[in-house]
Assembly symmetry: C2
Homo-oligomer: 124 residues x 2
Amino acid sequence: MANYEAVANQFIEFYYNTFDTNRQGLISLYRGTSLLTFESAQTQGDKDIIEKLVSLPFQKVIHKVVTQDAQPMSNGGIVVLVTGGLMVDDSPAPLAYSQIFVLQPDGGSYYVAHDTFKLTYPLV
Amino acid sequence: MANYEAVANQFIEFYYNTFDTNRQGLISLYRGTSLLTFESAQTQGDKDIIEKLVSLPFQKVIHKVVTQDAQPMSNGGIVVLVTGGLMVDDSPAPLAYSQIFVLQPDGGSYYVAHDTFKLTYPLV
């Protein structure tokens, strides 16, 4: 449990780097039971999740993490809240987002059991 | 599992209503093992969590939920991402926040196993 922050740091760096350079490569991070909620649309299973992520309508994407907060779970998992910004294609300004990851241990590594991604907008 | 969204809805309404009217009353929602990360400061246990929440330096507070996304967990839990706005005291504009709750079943009800709260700011 002591190193949950190191695991979260390493995961987040790897996840967004892979997302931004080789989205298809994210498939190794999900399992058949994994759940993704992307902009309130829910998808289950590694294959369907990757199909969803790969089909997102942008070519270039850069994530910039602004904050990350991790907690250890009693079952060995880690729950992480990321807030950050997303630059897609030639958009002039980043879009703000918040994202949850629930990581679960699996044979010396971790997979994404839960992933919830939500764009956030300035409040009026 | 089918009604995880109804549980999440009911919880969120109850949680913020209690927070905004009787912060001390939130203690029934946490346990000794619960973890709170509030603006990146981590606190464990119902008593310390309530002490933290009650000591927050504002008198009046109103939460307005903008979005909520829930997922069922394999152990019977529910993970929820809330985004919303917070009005404190006589501040003219709401502060945007994102919050994770991981709810766990406990004798016919649910408690908060994990709570991560983070204010979010416009990106430059």
